[in-house]
Protein backbone atom coordinates (compact mmCIF):
# COMPACT_ATOMS: atom_id res chain seq x y z
CA UNK A 1 0.00 0.00 0.00
CA UNK A 2 1.40 3.41 -0.82
CA UNK A 3 1.55 6.33 1.59
CA UNK A 4 -1.55 7.98 0.21
CA UNK A 5 -3.68 4.87 0.63
CA UNK A 6 -2.32 4.37 4.10
CA UNK A 7 -3.17 7.96 5.00
CA UNK A 8 -6.76 7.48 3.84
CA UNK A 9 -7.00 4.38 6.01
CA UNK A 10 -5.93 6.42 9.04
CA UNK A 11 -2.37 5.11 9.34
CA UNK A 12 -0.56 7.37 11.82
CA UNK A 13 2.91 6.64 10.54
CA UNK A 14 1.88 7.49 7.00
CA UNK A 15 0.42 10.75 8.27
CA UNK A 16 3.65 11.58 10.09
CA UNK A 17 5.87 10.62 7.18
CA UNK A 18 3.91 12.73 4.70
CA UNK A 19 4.30 15.80 6.89
CA UNK A 20 8.04 15.14 7.09
CA UNK A 21 8.24 14.86 3.32
CA UNK A 22 6.39 18.15 2.92
CA UNK A 23 8.78 19.80 5.33
CA UNK A 24 11.66 18.51 3.25
CA UNK A 25 10.23 19.71 -0.09
CA UNK A 26 9.75 16.19 -1.36
CA UNK A 27 7.77 16.33 -4.62
CA UNK A 28 6.42 12.85 -4.01
CA UNK A 29 4.38 14.20 -1.10
CA UNK A 30 2.99 16.96 -3.30
CA UNK A 31 1.94 14.36 -5.87
CA UNK A 32 0.13 12.40 -3.18
CA UNK A 33 -1.68 15.56 -2.08
CA UNK A 34 -2.64 16.23 -5.69
CA UNK A 35 -4.28 12.81 -5.83
CA UNK A 36 -5.97 13.08 -2.46
CA UNK A 37 -7.01 16.71 -2.42
CA UNK A 38 -10.60 15.78 -3.23
CA UNK A 39 -10.73 13.92 0.08
CA UNK A 40 -10.00 17.07 2.07
CA UNK A 41 -12.49 19.65 3.28
CA UNK A 42 -13.97 18.01 6.34
CA UNK A 43 -11.70 19.69 8.88
CA UNK A 44 -12.30 23.05 10.50
CA UNK A 45 -9.10 25.00 11.16
CA UNK A 46 -8.59 27.09 14.29
CA UNK A 47 -5.48 29.22 14.63
CA UNK A 48 -4.16 29.98 18.09
CA UNK A 49 -1.82 32.91 18.30
CA UNK A 50 -0.52 35.44 20.81
CA UNK A 51 2.61 36.73 22.48
CA UNK A 52 5.42 34.36 23.48
CA UNK A 53 4.62 32.67 26.77
CA UNK A 54 0.99 33.78 26.81
CA UNK A 55 -0.09 30.19 27.35
CA UNK A 56 -0.96 29.14 23.80
CA UNK A 57 0.21 25.56 24.24
CA UNK A 58 -1.42 25.09 27.63
CA UNK A 59 -4.64 26.53 26.27
CA UNK A 60 -4.49 24.42 23.11
CA UNK A 61 -4.21 21.34 25.30
CA UNK A 62 -7.30 22.34 27.28
CA UNK A 63 -9.35 23.32 24.24
CA UNK A 64 -8.42 20.08 22.47
CA UNK A 65 -9.64 18.11 25.48
CA UNK A 66 -12.95 19.95 25.34
CA UNK A 67 -13.36 18.99 21.69
CA UNK A 68 -12.45 15.40 22.53
CA UNK A 69 -15.31 15.38 25.04
CA UNK A 70 -17.57 16.25 22.14
CA UNK A 71 -16.21 13.21 20.32
CA UNK A 72 -14.28 15.23 17.74
CA UNK A 73 -10.97 14.08 16.29
CA UNK A 74 -8.26 16.65 16.80
CA UNK A 75 -5.06 17.42 14.93
CA UNK A 76 -2.57 19.89 16.37
CA UNK A 77 0.28 21.62 14.53
CA UNK A 78 2.54 23.41 16.98
CA UNK A 79 5.09 25.74 15.48
CA UNK A 80 8.21 27.04 17.15
CA UNK A 81 11.01 29.17 15.72
CA UNK A 82 13.99 27.70 13.91
CA UNK A 83 17.34 29.32 14.64
CA UNK A 84 18.36 31.33 11.59
CA UNK A 85 22.00 30.66 12.46
CA UNK A 86 22.14 26.90 12.89
CA UNK A 87 18.87 25.74 11.32
CA UNK A 88 18.20 23.89 14.55
CA UNK A 89 15.23 24.29 16.84
CA UNK A 90 13.89 23.25 20.18
CA UNK A 91 10.24 22.42 19.70
CA UNK A 92 8.77 22.58 23.19
CA UNK A 93 5.04 23.09 22.75
CA UNK A 94 4.39 19.40 23.16
CA UNK A 95 5.44 19.47 26.81
CA UNK A 96 2.09 21.08 27.62
CA UNK A 97 0.14 18.46 25.69
CA UNK A 98 1.56 15.20 26.98
CA UNK A 99 -1.82 14.01 28.24
CA UNK A 100 -3.07 13.88 24.67
CA UNK A 101 -0.21 11.80 23.30
CA UNK A 102 -1.87 8.42 23.89
CA UNK A 103 -5.29 9.43 22.61
CA UNK A 104 -5.73 7.64 19.28
CA UNK A 105 -8.04 10.40 18.07
CA UNK A 106 -5.44 13.11 18.53
CA UNK A 107 -2.39 13.73 16.36
CA UNK A 108 0.16 16.31 17.45
CA UNK A 109 3.00 17.47 15.28
CA UNK A 110 5.70 20.01 16.18
CA UNK A 111 7.17 22.04 13.35
CA UNK A 112 10.09 24.45 13.11
CA UNK A 113 9.58 27.61 11.08
CA UNK A 114 12.59 26.72 8.89
CA UNK A 115 13.20 30.23 7.71
CA UNK A 116 9.61 31.34 7.22
CA UNK A 117 8.44 34.54 8.77
CA UNK A 118 4.80 35.01 9.56
CA UNK A 119 4.56 32.67 12.53
CA UNK A 120 4.26 29.41 10.63
CA UNK A 121 6.37 27.22 8.39
CA UNK A 122 5.98 26.81 4.67
CA UNK A 123 4.88 23.21 5.13
CA UNK A 124 2.03 24.15 7.48
CA UNK A 125 -0.40 24.56 4.58
CA UNK A 126 0.33 21.06 3.34
CA UNK A 127 0.33 19.58 6.83
CA UNK A 128 -3.20 20.89 7.37
CA UNK A 129 -4.30 19.02 4.24
CA UNK A 130 -2.63 15.84 5.46
CA UNK A 131 -4.40 16.01 8.82
CA UNK A 132 -7.67 16.81 7.09
CA UNK A 133 -7.41 13.81 4.77
CA UNK A 134 -6.29 11.73 7.76
CA UNK A 135 -9.77 12.38 9.11
CA UNK A 136 -9.41 15.07 11.75
CA UNK A 137 -12.54 17.13 12.50
CA UNK A 138 -10.67 20.06 14.00
CA UNK A 139 -7.13 21.19 13.35
CA UNK A 140 -5.48 23.60 15.74
CA UNK A 141 -2.44 25.54 14.64
CA UNK A 142 -0.37 27.07 17.42
CA UNK A 143 1.78 29.77 15.84
CA UNK A 144 5.11 30.91 17.18
CA UNK A 145 4.75 33.71 19.71
CA UNK A 146 3.85 36.66 17.55
CA UNK A 147 5.16 40.17 17.47
CA UNK A 148 3.60 42.49 14.98
CA UNK A 149 3.95 41.21 11.49
CA UNK A 150 3.64 37.49 12.05
CA UNK A 151 0.00 37.21 11.22
CA UNK A 152 -0.04 34.62 8.45
CA UNK A 153 -2.37 32.53 10.57
CA UNK A 154 -5.31 34.46 9.21
CA UNK A 155 -4.43 33.14 5.75
CA UNK A 156 -4.99 29.56 6.77
CA UNK A 157 -7.40 29.46 9.72
CA UNK A 158 -11.18 29.55 9.60
CA UNK A 159 -11.21 31.02 13.09
CA UNK A 160 -8.36 32.89 14.77
CA UNK A 161 -8.11 32.80 18.55
CA UNK A 162 -5.94 35.57 19.93
CA UNK A 163 -4.44 34.79 23.33
CA UNK A 164 -3.80 37.83 25.49
CA UNK A 165 -2.58 38.04 29.08
CA UNK A 166 -3.20 40.58 31.84
CA UNK A 167 -0.69 43.31 32.58
CA UNK A 168 1.39 42.91 29.51
CA UNK A 169 2.28 46.56 29.16
CA UNK A 170 2.44 46.37 25.40
CA UNK A 171 -1.04 44.95 24.90
CA UNK A 172 -2.10 48.31 23.67
CA UNK A 173 0.87 48.38 21.32
CA UNK A 174 -0.22 45.10 19.85
CA UNK A 175 -3.69 46.46 19.46
CA UNK A 176 -2.38 49.48 17.62
CA UNK A 177 -0.10 47.41 15.46
CA UNK A 178 -3.06 45.74 13.86
CA UNK A 179 -3.08 42.39 15.57
CA UNK A 180 -6.61 43.21 16.65
CA UNK A 181 -7.93 42.94 13.12
CA UNK A 182 -7.17 39.29 12.68
CA UNK A 183 -8.79 38.02 15.89
CA UNK A 184 -12.17 36.32 15.70
CA UNK A 185 -12.18 35.44 19.39
CA UNK A 186 -10.05 36.84 22.20
CA UNK A 187 -9.00 34.79 25.20
CA UNK A 188 -7.53 36.60 28.14
CA UNK A 189 -5.49 33.77 29.56
CA UNK A 190 -3.95 33.72 33.04
CA UNK A 191 -7.06 35.34 34.42
CA UNK A 192 -6.07 33.78 37.72
CA UNK A 193 -3.60 36.68 37.86
CA UNK A 194 -4.56 40.28 38.60
CA UNK A 195 -5.50 42.68 35.87
CA UNK A 196 -7.62 40.50 33.59
CA UNK A 197 -10.65 42.75 33.92
CA UNK A 198 -8.66 45.75 32.88
CA UNK A 199 -7.23 43.96 29.88
CA UNK A 200 -10.72 42.87 28.90
CA UNK A 201 -11.92 46.45 29.16
CA UNK A 202 -9.06 47.70 27.01
CA UNK A 203 -9.83 45.19 24.31
CA UNK A 204 -13.55 45.93 24.44
CA UNK A 205 -12.83 49.64 24.11
CA UNK A 206 -10.73 48.99 21.04
CA UNK A 207 -13.48 46.86 19.57
CA UNK A 208 -15.93 49.72 20.17
CA UNK A 209 -13.74 51.89 17.98
CA UNK A 210 -13.46 49.49 15.09
CA UNK A 211 -16.27 49.10 12.66
CA UNK A 212 -17.41 45.50 12.48
CA UNK A 213 -21.13 45.42 12.05
CA UNK A 214 -22.57 41.93 12.18
CA UNK A 215 -19.93 40.17 14.17
CA UNK A 216 -18.09 41.45 17.20
CA UNK A 217 -15.24 39.27 18.47
CA UNK A 218 -16.06 38.05 21.98
CA UNK A 219 -13.52 38.50 24.78
CA UNK A 220 -13.37 35.58 27.21
CA UNK A 221 -11.39 35.45 30.43
CA UNK A 222 -9.86 32.02 30.97
CA UNK A 223 -7.20 30.27 32.98
CA UNK A 224 -5.63 27.48 30.98
CA UNK A 225 -3.56 26.36 33.92
CA UNK A 226 -6.58 26.05 36.20
CA UNK A 227 -8.91 24.87 33.42
CA UNK A 228 -11.26 27.74 34.08
CA UNK A 229 -13.86 28.89 31.58
CA UNK A 230 -12.55 26.69 28.79
CA UNK A 231 -16.07 25.49 28.02
CA UNK A 232 -17.25 29.05 27.47
CA UNK A 233 -14.29 29.78 25.23
CA UNK A 234 -15.06 26.73 23.11
CA UNK A 235 -18.69 27.89 22.84
CA UNK A 236 -17.45 31.20 21.45
CA UNK A 237 -15.24 29.44 18.92
CA UNK A 238 -18.22 27.38 17.82
CA UNK A 239 -20.40 30.49 17.60
CA UNK A 240 -17.89 32.05 15.26
CA UNK A 241 -17.97 28.95 13.11
CA UNK A 242 -21.75 29.05 13.07
CA UNK A 243 -21.72 32.73 12.13
CA UNK A 244 -19.40 32.05 9.19
CA UNK A 245 -21.50 29.12 8.04
CA UNK A 246 -24.89 30.79 8.47
CA UNK A 247 -23.83 33.89 6.56
CA UNK A 248 -21.93 32.01 3.89
CA UNK A 249 -18.82 33.94 4.88
CA UNK A 250 -16.94 30.68 5.32
CA UNK A 251 -16.95 30.22 1.56
CA UNK A 252 -15.64 33.74 0.98
CA UNK A 253 -12.97 33.33 3.58
CA UNK A 254 -11.75 30.00 2.26
CA UNK A 255 -11.79 31.27 -1.29
CA UNK A 256 -9.68 34.25 -0.31
CA UNK A 257 -7.20 31.97 1.40
CA UNK A 258 -7.04 29.55 -1.50
CA UNK A 259 -6.25 32.48 -3.78
CA UNK A 260 -3.43 33.53 -1.44
CA UNK A 261 -2.11 29.99 -1.28
CA UNK A 262 -1.95 29.58 -5.03
CA UNK A 263 -0.14 32.90 -5.37
CA UNK A 264 2.28 31.95 -2.63
CA UNK A 265 3.06 28.60 -4.24
CA UNK A 266 3.61 30.28 -7.59
CA UNK A 267 5.84 32.88 -6.01
CA UNK A 268 7.97 30.21 -4.33
CA UNK A 269 8.31 28.28 -7.55
CA UNK A 270 9.24 31.42 -9.41
CA UNK A 271 11.94 32.28 -6.89
CA UNK A 272 13.24 28.74 -7.06
CA UNK A 273 13.47 28.96 -10.84
CA UNK A 274 15.33 32.24 -10.73
CA UNK A 275 17.70 31.16 -8.03
CA UNK A 276 18.48 27.79 -9.60
CA UNK A 277 19.36 29.41 -12.90
CA UNK A 278 21.08 32.43 -11.45
CA UNK A 279 23.19 30.50 -8.99
CA UNK A 280 23.73 27.53 -11.26
CA UNK A 281 25.24 29.63 -13.98
CA UNK A 282 27.01 31.95 -11.58
CA UNK A 283 25.02 34.75 -13.12
CA UNK A 284 23.96 36.34 -9.87
CA UNK A 285 27.54 36.69 -8.69
CA UNK A 286 28.54 38.30 -12.00
CA UNK A 287 25.63 40.71 -11.87
CA UNK A 288 26.44 41.67 -8.30
CA UNK A 289 30.03 42.37 -9.23
CA UNK A 290 28.98 44.47 -12.19
CA UNK A 291 26.70 46.54 -10.04
CA UNK A 292 29.40 46.95 -7.40
CA UNK A 293 31.75 48.26 -10.07
CA UNK A 294 29.02 50.59 -11.33
CA UNK A 295 29.22 48.94 -14.73
CA UNK A 296 25.58 48.11 -14.37
CA UNK A 297 22.64 49.30 -12.29
CA UNK A 298 20.49 46.99 -10.15
CA UNK A 299 17.45 47.50 -12.37
CA UNK A 300 19.21 46.23 -15.44
CA UNK A 301 20.61 43.36 -13.38
CA UNK A 302 17.07 42.42 -12.45
CA UNK A 303 16.05 42.54 -16.12
CA UNK A 304 18.81 40.07 -16.93
CA UNK A 305 17.58 37.67 -14.28
CA UNK A 306 14.06 37.80 -15.60
CA UNK A 307 15.19 37.29 -19.18
CA UNK A 308 16.88 34.11 -18.06
CA UNK A 309 13.63 32.59 -16.85
CA UNK A 310 11.71 33.58 -19.92
CA UNK A 311 14.12 31.57 -22.05
Amino acid sequence: MNLGERLLKGDRRACARLITMLENNDDQAINILKDLYKHSGNAYVIGITGAPGSGKSTLTDKIAKEFRKKGKKVGILAIDPTSPFTGGAILGDRIRMNDLTLDKNVFIRSMGTRGSLGGMSRATWGAVKVLDIFGMDYIFIETVGVGQSEVDIVKIADTVLMVMVPNLGDDIQAIKAGIMEIADVFAINKSDLDGADRTKLEIEMNLDLSDQKEYRPPVVKVSARQSENIGELVDKLMEHRKYLEDTGKIVERRKKNIRLEIMKLAEEEFMRLIMNKALGENLLEDLVNNVVLKEMDPYTAKDRLIELIKE
Binding site: R12, R13, A16, R17, I19, T20, E23, N24, T82, S83, T86, G87, G88, A89, I90, L91, G92, R94, I95, N98, T101, L102, F107, I108, R109, S110, G112, R114
Partner: protein, 131 residues
Protein backbone atom coordinates in the same frame (compact mmCIF):
# COMPACT_ATOMS: atom_id res chain seq x y z
CA UNK B 1 19.19 16.13 1.01
CA UNK B 2 19.62 18.97 3.47
CA UNK B 3 16.88 17.95 5.82
CA UNK B 4 17.34 18.62 9.51
CA UNK B 5 17.68 15.56 11.72
CA UNK B 6 14.70 15.30 14.08
CA UNK B 7 15.33 14.06 17.60
CA UNK B 8 12.89 13.30 20.40
CA UNK B 9 14.54 14.07 23.73
CA UNK B 10 12.60 12.34 26.47
CA UNK B 11 12.91 11.73 30.14
CA UNK B 12 11.28 8.46 31.13
CA UNK B 13 11.01 7.47 34.76
CA UNK B 14 10.15 9.33 37.86
CA UNK B 15 13.27 11.31 38.69
CA UNK B 16 12.67 15.02 38.69
CA UNK B 17 15.80 16.41 37.05
CA UNK B 18 16.01 17.31 33.43
CA UNK B 19 19.09 19.46 33.43
CA UNK B 20 21.08 16.87 31.51
CA UNK B 21 18.31 16.39 28.98
CA UNK B 22 18.11 20.14 28.45
CA UNK B 23 21.85 20.45 27.93
CA UNK B 24 21.69 17.75 25.28
CA UNK B 25 18.62 19.33 23.68
CA UNK B 26 20.43 22.64 23.30
CA UNK B 27 23.58 21.01 21.96
CA UNK B 28 21.60 19.14 19.32
CA UNK B 29 19.76 22.30 18.35
CA UNK B 30 23.06 24.14 18.01
CA UNK B 31 24.21 21.33 15.74
CA UNK B 32 21.30 22.14 13.44
CA UNK B 33 18.85 19.48 14.59
CA UNK B 34 15.16 19.83 15.37
CA UNK B 35 14.67 18.71 18.92
CA UNK B 36 11.25 17.78 20.17
CA UNK B 37 11.44 18.13 23.89
CA UNK B 38 8.73 16.36 25.86
CA UNK B 39 9.76 17.03 29.43
CA UNK B 40 9.75 14.94 32.56
CA UNK B 41 8.12 11.67 33.53
CA UNK B 42 7.23 10.22 30.19
CA UNK B 43 6.01 6.65 30.01
CA UNK B 44 7.52 4.39 27.33
CA UNK B 45 4.11 4.38 25.61
CA UNK B 46 4.07 8.17 25.46
CA UNK B 47 7.61 8.29 24.13
CA UNK B 48 6.81 5.85 21.36
CA UNK B 49 3.60 7.59 20.31
CA UNK B 50 5.33 10.97 20.29
CA UNK B 51 8.19 9.50 18.24
CA UNK B 52 5.67 8.22 15.69
CA UNK B 53 3.69 11.44 15.40
CA UNK B 54 6.85 13.52 15.19
CA UNK B 55 8.44 11.06 12.74
CA UNK B 56 11.82 11.47 14.42
CA UNK B 57 15.09 10.00 13.26
CA UNK B 58 16.35 9.58 16.80
CA UNK B 59 14.92 8.90 20.24
CA UNK B 60 17.31 10.11 22.93
CA UNK B 61 16.39 9.23 26.51
CA UNK B 62 17.98 10.14 29.76
CA UNK B 63 17.45 8.51 33.13
CA UNK B 64 19.00 9.13 36.49
CA UNK B 65 16.69 7.06 38.62
CA UNK B 66 18.15 3.63 37.89
CA UNK B 67 15.14 2.26 36.05
CA UNK B 68 17.04 2.13 32.77
CA UNK B 69 17.17 -1.68 32.55
CA UNK B 70 13.42 -1.73 32.45
CA UNK B 71 12.49 1.50 30.64
CA UNK B 72 15.04 1.66 27.81
CA UNK B 73 14.30 -1.83 26.41
CA UNK B 74 10.58 -1.23 26.85
CA UNK B 75 10.77 1.72 24.45
CA UNK B 76 12.69 -0.30 21.88
CA UNK B 77 10.20 -3.15 22.09
CA UNK B 78 7.19 -0.89 21.75
CA UNK B 79 8.76 0.76 18.71
CA UNK B 80 9.24 -2.68 17.15
CA UNK B 81 5.66 -3.64 17.94
CA UNK B 82 4.54 -0.55 16.08
CA UNK B 83 6.66 -1.59 13.13
CA UNK B 84 9.11 1.27 13.52
CA UNK B 85 12.54 0.07 12.47
CA UNK B 86 14.21 3.20 11.16
CA UNK B 87 14.68 5.10 14.39
CA UNK B 88 17.99 5.29 16.21
CA UNK B 89 17.53 4.84 19.97
CA UNK B 90 20.19 6.14 22.34
CA UNK B 91 20.29 6.59 26.09
CA UNK B 92 22.12 8.56 28.68
CA UNK B 93 22.36 8.91 32.41
CA UNK B 94 24.10 7.34 35.35
CA UNK B 95 24.40 3.82 34.05
CA UNK B 96 26.75 1.23 35.56
CA UNK B 97 29.22 -0.44 33.20
CA UNK B 98 27.81 -3.87 33.87
CA UNK B 99 24.40 -2.85 32.51
CA UNK B 100 25.80 -1.67 29.16
CA UNK B 101 26.00 -4.97 27.28
CA UNK B 102 22.44 -5.90 28.20
CA UNK B 103 21.10 -2.55 27.07
CA UNK B 104 22.96 -2.71 23.75
CA UNK B 105 21.72 -6.24 23.29
CA UNK B 106 18.20 -4.91 23.82
CA UNK B 107 18.62 -2.44 20.98
CA UNK B 108 19.86 0.76 22.61
CA UNK B 109 22.56 1.59 20.12
CA UNK B 110 24.71 3.73 22.35
CA UNK B 111 24.78 4.75 25.98
CA UNK B 112 26.30 8.04 27.04
CA UNK B 113 27.42 8.45 30.60
CA UNK B 114 27.85 11.80 32.37
CA UNK B 115 31.42 12.45 31.22
CA UNK B 116 30.53 12.34 27.51
CA UNK B 117 30.90 15.58 25.59
CA UNK B 118 27.85 16.77 23.70
CA UNK B 119 30.02 16.81 20.58
CA UNK B 120 30.42 13.04 20.79
CA UNK B 121 26.66 12.64 20.97
CA UNK B 122 26.18 14.87 17.93
CA UNK B 123 28.80 12.92 15.98
CA UNK B 124 27.32 9.59 16.97
CA UNK B 125 23.88 10.63 15.80
CA UNK B 126 25.13 11.97 12.49
CA UNK B 127 27.05 8.77 11.78
CA UNK B 128 24.41 6.28 12.81
CA UNK B 129 21.12 7.44 11.35
CA UNK B 130 18.95 4.67 10.01
CA UNK B 131 17.44 6.62 7.18
Amino acid sequence: MDRPIRVLVAKPGLDGHDRGAKVIARALRDAGMEVIYTGLRQTPEQIVQAAIQEDVDVVAMSILSGAHNHLFPKVVNLLREEGVDDVLVIGGGVIPDEDMPGLKEAGIEEIFTPGTSTKEVVEFIKNNLKR
